[in-house]
């Protein structure tokens, strides 16, 4: 990364201005006796161009957090700042529109361009995710991995500065996932994206993240913030990745077993 530029005015943060900033964010679902505190006073910054992985057992509020950042839901308390930046989001499911072709789905994110530009841009994006030959297909004709790549292309079409990814490769086989990690890393670098990437796969988090943020469950809070100082490109099966992943896993298991007692 580039040398940190000194920030003015903000006493609490060092380095470049955060692209995403969560300040004491809480989220309560429901009301009264059945209410559930999903997030408890979560504070988290992600710098411009940073790749942050959010890691935690399922049910710890990872999706809740991304939904709040995406504006799909409102926090109960606290503030979220994204400085009016454009936000794109990928879900665990591809969430493609079945009545549109692959190109149609991507062009939907390019509504503001005129027809000719839209077509060109959609074709370019399909090439980026290696699906140039499948433009006229419908989502159901593609495999899971291919659909997820279309979803990635659609997210990229939004020209967003911030990309939120909620376990996007969770349902894919290991080989496809490895290839998509490489693709994602390349795209992230080329576009200087800020990425919040949710996963419950420790190795995936270490493979991809500049930082790995560990969340506790019920209520969700940040319990650890690891900086991953490994050379890129990393390999999921490399000993360095395995070592750090091992450390994090121990910490994660401690946290999970706390609930058993």
């Amino acid at each position: 990364m580039t040398a940190p530029t000194q920030e003015l005015g903000h006493g609490r943060t060092e380095g470049p201005a955060p692209a995403v900033r969560l300040d004491a964010v809480s989220k309560v679902y429901g009301r009264g006796a059945t209410s559930l505190l999903a997030l408890d006073q979560v504070s988290l910054n992600a710098a411009q161009g940073e790749f942050v992985c959010l890691l935690g057992a399922s049910g710890c509020g990872k999706s809740t957090m991304l939904n709040l950042v995406a504006g799909l839901d409102r926090p109960t308390a606290g503030t979220i700042e994204t400085g009016g930046k454009q936000i794109a989001m990928m879900f665990q499911e591809p969430a493609l529109f079945p009545w549109l072709t692959v190109t149609g789905n991507i062009e939907l994110a390019l509504r503001k361009l005129d027809r000719k530009k839209r077509k060109e841009r959609a074709a370019e994006l399909l090439d980026v995710v290696h699906l140039g030959g499948f433009a006229k297909k419908r989502p159901h004709e593609l495999s899971g991995g291919m659909r997820q790549r279309v979803a990635l292309a659609r997210a990229l079409a939004q020209e967003a500065d911030i990309l939120l990814m909620d376990e996007p490769f969770g349902a894919l086989d290991a080989m496809t996932r490895d290839l998509l990690h490489d693709e994602l890393e390349r795209i992230w670098r080329e576009r200087n994206l800020t990425i919040l990437f949710v996963t419950h796969n420790v190795r995936e988090a270490v493979r991809l993240g500049d930082r790995v943020v560990l969340l506790s469950s019920r209520p969700g809070t940040v319990i650890e913030d690891y900086t991953v100082d490994l050379e890129r490109p990393r390999r999921t099966e490399s000993p360095e990745v395995a070592k750090l992943a091992g450390e994090i896993t121990v910490r994660l298991k401690e946290e999970v077993s706390r609930h058993g007692r």
């Binding site: 504006g71 989001m89 529109f97 419908r138 004709e141 495999s143 991995g145 693709e183």
Partner: protein, 294 residues
């Protein structure tokens, strides 16, 4: 230079791997053999028709009723063949179809307007939601006394009941479609910046299409029934229609003519149903909803 080639080949390798995985994963579609598929659908129909005709003939041969009260299939089909050459018959079919189509189109207009309003506005839904479902269960013939009182023995009375019969199903189809737009797609749409009008245009309306189509199909069935009831009750002078033909065939105790007309009514119903079925199949195939288990 050497480094560049290395990058190039690495990139090519990734491309080849991805292309290989894609080729392995993508479904291979079985080519459909059209004549065979058609024959597979046609022969059961022929079988069913033959069975029905055989039972019909058997009942006639059993002589529960005299031949002039309950004609056999040969007589009825012969009568039907003869009527195909009569201008009056085609006039009757044309009148009935004109009423059916115009009534159905009007019902679509009303149904879509009501459905859109009810699905959009909470208060209207609370007030009219269950009323619309209730209207669907109302037998259309029960509307006719009121319709005749309001409009007299005119075509308007028939149209009134046809619209009342079909519109609730159409409205309900639209409301269900809007309600059951998959939440994940709504979330994706929100992230893509779809709001208000663009949300309806790009997401909610296309997503509700299958349910809307089902509503149209059911609406048509109700419209067709209401129309037949109406044509038997509301007879307009010098305007032959299929219902009117049924009425007079009964008055003249012309059993063959009566049965021939009934066959025509049944056939029209089946043809329209097949058309709706084809539309539904085409939609399912496009959306990938046609994958069966096994």
């Amino acid at each position: 230079m050497a480094a560049e080639t290395a990058v190039d080949t690495a990139e090519e390798k990734v491309n080849a791997q991805i292309a290989g995985l894609d080729a392995l994963e993508i479904q291979v579609k079985a080519k459909r053999n059209l004549p065979a598929a058609l024959w597979g659908r046609v022969w059961p129909m022929f079988l069913a028709i033959s069975i029905v005709l055989a039972i019909w003939e058997a009942v006639v041969l059993a002589e529960f009723w005299p031949e002039y009260v309950f004609a056999g299939p040969v007589t009825a089909l012969g009568e039907l063949g003869a009527r195909l050459g009569e201008a009056e018959f085609w006039h009757a079919v044309a009148t009935t179809m004109r009423r059916a189509v115009s009534g159905f189109l009007l019902a679509i207009l009303v149904g879509v307007a009501v459905g859109a309003a009810v699905s959009r506005i909470k208060l209207l839904r609370a007030a009219f939601g269950s009323l619309i479902t209730g209207l669907q269960t109302m037998p259309s013939i029960a509307w006719f006394p009121l319709a005749i009182l309001l409009f007299g023995l005119t075509e308007n009375a028939i149209t009134f009941v046809v619209v009342l019969g079909a519109a609730p199903s159409i409205a309900n189809g639209l409301i269900t479609g809007v309600d059951y737009t998959p939440p994940i797609l709504l979330r994706a749409g929100h992230v893509l910046g779809l709001r208000r009008l663009s949300l309806y245009r790009h997401l909610i309306l296309p997503a509700s299409l299958p349910s809307f189509l089902a509503g149209l199909k059911q609406g048509w069935a109700f419209a067709w029934r209401s129309l037949m009831a109406g044509e038997i009750l509301v007879i307009i002078a010098n305007q032959p229609s299929l219902g009117e033909q049924l009425h007079f065939a009964r008055e003249l105790a012309d059993s063959a003519r009566l049965l021939a007309t009934m066959i025509v009514i049944l056939l029209i119903g089946i043809v329209v149903d097949v058309l709706f079925g084809a539309a539904d199949n085409a939609l399912r195939r496009r959306w990938g909803l046609d994958q069966r288990i096994g």
